[in-house]
Every structure is written in C-alpha cells, then in structure tokens.
C-alpha cells in the first residue's frame, strides 16, 4: 500500500478583531466628550446670557429707578418751589380779594332794597363766584390748589354766613322801617284821638307779625327779635303818643286810668314827666308866640327903617352948604311906608313927615345944640345904639341940629355903613380922642360944652378924611395913634385942643362959677358950704347929711364916710 500522507490542514478558525470595536467605542466616548465639552460651553454661555439678562435688566431697572427718583426729587423741588411761589403770591391776592369782596358786599347791602330777597344770591352768583373762580385758576400745583380750595371754601362759607346774616339783618331793619311807618301813622292817629289807642295797638300787633312773617330772608331769631321790639316799642310809642295827645288837650288831665291799663308800657314817672313837659310846653308856646310877635315886629321895624332910608336916599339931597332939598314924592312914599308897615312904619313915617314939614318952614333958623351934636356924634360908633337918619330927622325937627350938621352926619352914616368903623379899636380911639378934647371926671358937677362942641367938630372933619384915605388905601399905619403927635388923628385933633386953664374955665362957665371952691389947685363942689371930698367929685347926684356929715349917691344908694371913703 502506498504511503499516502494525510492532508495537513492548518488550524482553522476565524479570530475576530477588536480593533474596530475598540476604536468605535473609544470614538463614541470621545465624541460624547466633545459634545459634553461644547454643551458645557453652551450651558455656560446660556448661564452667562441669563446672568447678563438679569444683570442688564437689573441695571436698566436700576438706571430707570435712579433717573426716576432723580426726576422725582427735581420735580418735588420744582413743585415745592411752585407751591411756595403760588401760595405766597396767592395769600396776598386772597387778602386783597377778601377786602374787595367785603367792600363790594357792603356797598351792595348799602344800596340794596332791603325787601329784595335775591340780593345775596345775586352777589354770590355775579361777584363772589367769578372772583373765587378767577382766583383758583392761578394755582397749578396740587398743594397750591389745595391752598386755593381752602381759601375758596373759607370765603364761600364766610360769605354764606355773612350774606345770610346781613340779609336777615337788612330784612329786619326793613321790617322795622315798614313797621315804623305804621307806628308813626298810628301814633299820629292816637295823638289826635287818644280814644283809638286800643284799636291802634291791635292794628300794630297784627301788622308787625305779618310784616316779619312775610319776609323771605329774615331768619327766625331776627324775626322774633324784630317782632318783640316792634310790639314793645311800638305799643310804648302809641301809648305815649296817646298820653301826649291827652295832655295836649288838657295839661292837667288825670292819668291814673292810663297808668293802670297800660302800666307795662308807661310808668308813673314818665306820665308825670309828660305832664310836666306838657305844662312847660304850654308856657313855652306862649313865649314862642310872644317871641314870634316880637320878631315879626322887629322885622317890620327893620323893613320900615330900610324903606325909610331908601325914601331918604332917593328924595333927600343937600347942596355944598348943607341946605336940604326934598322931592315932593317923599311925602307919598313916607305915607306908603306907614300903610305897608302899620305897626313899625308909623313912627318913621311920622318922623319923616314932621321933618319935611319943619324943612318947609322958611323962617326956620336952627343952630346946633352942642350936647345933642356930641351925643349924635358919639353914637356914630356905638354898636348898641347906632345913630340913624331917623335920629337926625328928630333932632333937626326939634331944632337941635342945623341943616349943615344934619347933612354932614347923614353923610357920615352913609359912609360908615359902607366902611364900618364900629369895632373896638375905633371905639377906644374915639374915646381917647374924646378924653383928650373934653374935660370930664374932674370931681365937681359941670359940663365942658366947648369941649363937646370941639369933639363934634373933630369927628365931623376927621371921619370923612379917614374913610376917604381908607378907601384909597393910603392910610398910614399910625393913623389912629393918639399918642403920636404926627399921626393923622393927632393932627386932626390939634385945632380943637385947649390948655388946662382954658378947659377948666370952660367947664366952670357951665356952672356959673358959684357953687365951687378951689383949694390948692383942686376945684370942689360945695354942699351946704362944705366941699365934696375929691374922691366923690365925679358923682353927679351926690347928697350930704348935714347931721352926720356923711355922703350918699342918690343914683346908686351907696353911702360914704365924711372923708369920702366907702362905708
């Protein structure tokens, strides 16, 4: 048998390799790592983004909050400034507005009809509200508007109260006025007819109630007060008027019945007082009537004198020598005065007619009576008994003054009426001139007729010169200075001055020189051979008691010792 070798088969079997598996597994792990790494980065980015988001949001919010708070602070400061400015200015405006509104309301109330109920509402609508609205418009901030609202509310409340009160008061006054008219009418009625007193009281009570109740603006309190006042005072007034009426009719009427019935409105004292007043009034009325009569008489006297003066000025004239010419119409006009003023006109008319009649006497030769001329001259300056033309006419008619003197003094009366020289200065000056020219007060009876004539002549020459210079404005400042030898008055007096001896002789000559004695240069009167004490020399009506040797002034009744001293 052939040796056949068996087939040597190598070890068969597939060996799997891990290269790919491990690579893939490692790849898987590494790829996961890569993704994890990126995912981590992404997550970090997400976190950072989220963080940024919140950071950004926070920062923006914070910025907004800060800007907001800044704006708030600035705004608050601005608002505070505006508040302060508007409130400060507003306070001043508010006070001015208050004063204006008060004035406007007071003016409104003053001029309003007290019976008009719409006065307050109209004032509030047309004056108050527009003023308040205009005031409030000027405030723009919350606080200033609150301030303005406060002012507006206060003013509105104030004027609500004030207008209501004033309106009510006004209505009360109106009610009282209305009722007062009723009271006055009723008072007049009861004064004339006191028996109607009860009816008048009923009427007043009824009317007062309705006057008050019908007022739409008067409040209850004011109404009650007004009613009470009207009833109490009104009835008092009526009762007193009635009492006055009774007393007027009979001042001695018995008022006890009135006192009993109306004692709450009038008391006994008042009644007595009324009665006394009525009695006094009755006396006063008599006096008033008499005074009225006197006054009317005085008025008539004055009118008659004026009319007479006019007749004289219209109809009487004089030439350069003082000769008087009278127009024929003067007589009729004098009679007209007598007719027109029967009581006061008769005397001046009579005086004038007698004067005219005496002037018609062609045989009339009149020389001045020095005493009369002196008296008339002195009265030129006498404010209590001034010289009038009537006095001159009477003196002329009696033959005491010449026509020349009449004309001169009449002219001076006219001059002095237009340029009065009747003040104290002229009176004193003329007294001083009189003392200088006329001897008086020498302690013995007698009269310085020559001095009086000289004084009258001085007056008649000086006064016209003085008035002429006065009117021309050329008077010297010392014109009336009697002590200044160069003054106008001293120069005017100069021609009439006399020495002491001459003056005494003139004085003595008026006494005939028998009843006087002179011792040591002093001249005294003799009473029963006894010279009067020098202290009593000036008393004209001196009397001596031959038993006691004492002296007495018969005019005054005063007694004096032997030496002339008062007892």
């Amino acid at each position: 048998m052939a040796n056949i070798r068996a087939f040597d088969t190598p070890a068969l079997g597939l060996k799997p390799t891990e290269t790919g598996v491990e690579s893939r597994a490692a790849t898987a792990r590494r790829v996961g790592g890569f993704y994890n790494q990126e995912a981590s980065a992404l997550q970090q980015l997400g976190r950072d983004t989220e963080s940024l988001g919140s950071f950004e949001g926070q920062q923006i919010k914070q910025a907004g909050a800060k800007v907001g708070s800044g704006i708030e602070a600035a705004g608050d400061a601005y608002v505070a400034y505006e508040d302060h400015k508007e409130i400060s200015h507003g306070a001043a405006v508010a006070s001015d507005m208050f004063v204006n509104l008060e004035k406007q309301w007071n003016d409104t109330v003053k001029n309003a009809d007290p019976n008009d109920p719409s006065v307050a509402a109209k004032f509030k609508e047309t004056v108050l509200q527009p003023s308040l609205d205009k005031f409030a418009e000027n405030f723009t901030t919350e606080n200033s508007q609150k301030f303005a609202d406060g002012i507006v509310n206060r003013y509105r409340q104030h004027f609500d109260t004030k207008t209501a009160a004033d309106t009510s008061t006004m209505a009360g006054i109106a009610a009282k006025q209305n009722a007062t008219q009723t009271i006055n009418s009723l008072s007049s009625a009861v004064y004339l007819d006191p028996s109607s007193l009860d009816t008048a009281i009923d009427t007043l009570t009824h009317s007062a109630g309705h006057i008050v109740d019908s007022s739409p603006t008067i409040d209850a309190e004011t109404g009650a007060r007004v009613k009470s006042e009207l009833n109490q005072k009104g009835i008092e007034s009526l009762v007193k008027s009635a009492v006055s009426g009774m007393i007027e009719k009979n001042p001695n009427v018995d008022l006890d019945a009135i006192q009993k019935k109306y004692g709450q409105y009038i008391n006994g004292g008042e009644l007595k007082m009324f009665q006394r007043a009525a009695q006094t009034q009755a006396k006063a009325n008599k006096l008033a009537d008499k005074q009225l009569e006197t006054y009317q008489r005085q008025q008539q006297d004055y009118a008659a004198k004026s009319a007479t003066a006019k007749v004289v000025s219209d109809n009487f004239s004089a030439d350069e020598n003082g000769n008087i010419t009278i127009k024929p119409g003067a007589i009729k006009q004098a009679l007209d005065i007598a007719r027109k003023y029967p009581e006061a006109g008769a005397a001046p008319a009579d005086t004038m007619l007698k004067f005219i009649q005496s002037q018609q006497n062609q045989e009339r030769k009149v020389v001045d009576n020095p005493a009369v001329v002196t008296d008339l001259s002195n009265r030129l300056f006498d404010p209590n008994n001034p010289l009038t033309e009537m006095d001159l006419m009477r003196a002329s008619t009696k033959g005491d003054i010449s026509d020349h003197t009449y004309t001169k003094l009449k002219g001076m009366i006219g001059d002095l009426e237009t340029s009065p020289l009747k003040g104290p200065v002229y009176q004193d000056t003329m007294k001083a001139a009189h003392s200088t020219l006329v001897l008086t007060g020498v302690g013995i009876p007698g009269k310085d007729d020559v001095g009086e004539q000289n004084y009258a002549k001085f007056v008649q020459s000086f006064i016209p010169q003085y008035i002429a210079k006065s009117r021309a404005g050329t008077l010297e400042p010392n014109a009336l200075d009697v002590k200044d030898p160069n003054s106008m008055i001293s120069k005017a007096m100069q021609p009439f001055r006399r020495g002491l001896t001459e003056r005494i002789n003139d004085y003595m000559s008026s006494l005939g020189g028998a009843a006087v004695t002179t011792t040591n240069g002093v001249t005294s009167r003799l009473y029963g051979g006894v010279p009067a004490p020098a202290a009593l020399g000036g008393i004209a009506s001196l009397q001596r008691n031959p038993t006691t040797g004492e002296w007495r002034d018969q005019a005054t009744g005063k007694s004096y010792n032997k030496d002339g001293s008062p007892k």
Partner: protein, 200 residues
C-alpha cells in the same frame, strides 16, 4: 422756598447716585473682563480640539494603511496556502500513483478530502483577512469621525467664545446705561438739593 428734610435727603441721594454710577461702571467693566477671559478659554479649548482633530486625521490615514497592509498580507498568505495545498495533494497523487493505484476508490477519496481541506483553509484565511481589514476600516472611520467632531466642537466653541465676547460688550453697555442713570439721578437730586439755597 423752604429748606426741609427732603433738601438734605436729595443731597445724600445725589452723592449716593454719583458713587453708584461709578460702581456701575466698575462692576460692568469687571464682569465684561470675566466674560472675555471665559471666551479666551473657549478659544483655547477650540485650538486644542483642532489639534486633536489633526491627530485623528493622521490616525485615520494610518488605519487605512493598516487595512491595505492586511489586504496585501492576506493575498500573500493565500498564495502560500495554495502552494502548500498543491504540494500536499500533489504528494498524495504521487504516492498513489507510485503505489500503482489508480486514481480510484480510496485514493480518490483521499485526494478529494485533501482538496476540500485545502479549499476550506483558503476560505478561512480569506475570511480572516477580511475581518482584519474591516477592523482597520472601522478604526479609520472612527478617527475620521473624531477628527470631524473635534473640528465641529472647535468651531462651536469659537462661536460660543464670540458670543461670550458679545456678552461682555453687552454687559459693559448695560453697566454704562446704569451709570448714566445714576449720574443723571445724581445731577437731578443735586439740583433739587441746591435749588432752595439759590431761590431763597
């Protein structure tokens, strides 16, 4: 104008906001700087990823070369196996023939079995080579995947780094806005605090 507690409250607020504004700027700056550093870190990582990808590329090439080497080695081994099989079967034929046997009966069975064993060995050898090639191929594919992933990751990280930088800028801007708000508030409060003194 009235000087009140709010005047001093405003003054305090102005100072507080002034420093608040400075703080905002500082805080924003530092936060932005932190983010910038973070972005730099990401970029560094990306650089590392790219380096890793390059190595993976080289590993891929090597794996592919291994696959080629395996294929060549397998072909050589198959040739050697074919020769061995031929020698053995040839030997058996020679033995049979030497023995005068005819190629029949048992001899034939032996030869046939040998041929089957040889073929099987060759088939196993070829299969084994293919397994090894598949392993290297898979390895190359894996490295390629790693390289791609590393690049993708690096690119992603680069983007994230850029976005982080943007975040830093945004943070700074936010801080600036806050600072502006603080300064504005400070100015307004300061004005409010001074106003009463100027208006008195």
């Amino acid at each position: 104008m009235v000087i009140s507690s709010s005047t001093f409250s405003n003054a305090g607020g102005a100072v507080s906001d002034l420093f608040g504004g400075i703080g905002d700027i500082l805080q924003g700056g530092l936060k932005a700087k932190g983010l910038n550093i973070q972005a730099e870190g990401l970029r560094l990582k990306a650089t590392g990823d790219l380096a890793e990808a390059t190595n993976y590329d080289r590993a891929t090439v090597l794996a592919e070369q291994n696959k080629q080497f395996t294929e060549t080695s397998n072909a050589i081994q198959e040739s050697q196996l074919d020769r061995s099989n031929y020698l053995q079967i040839g030997g058996q034929q020679a033995a049979i023939a030497g023995a005068g046997g005819a190629a029949s009966g048992s001899a034939l069975d032996i030869l046939a079995d040998s041929a089957r064993q040889g073929a099987l060995s060759k088939q196993v050898l070829g299969q084994q080579g293919m397994i090894t090639e598949a392993g290297y191929e898979e390895q190359a594919a894996s490295y390629k995947t790693l390289a791609d992933t590393a690049r993708t990751t690096a690119a992603g990280e680069q983007n994230i780094a850029n976005e982080t930088d943007q975040l830093a800028k945004d943070t700074k801007s936010a801080s600036d806005i806050a600072a502006i708000g603080s300064f504005a508030s400070s100015a307004l409060k300061g004005a409010a605090a001074i106003a009463p003194f100027l208006l008195i």
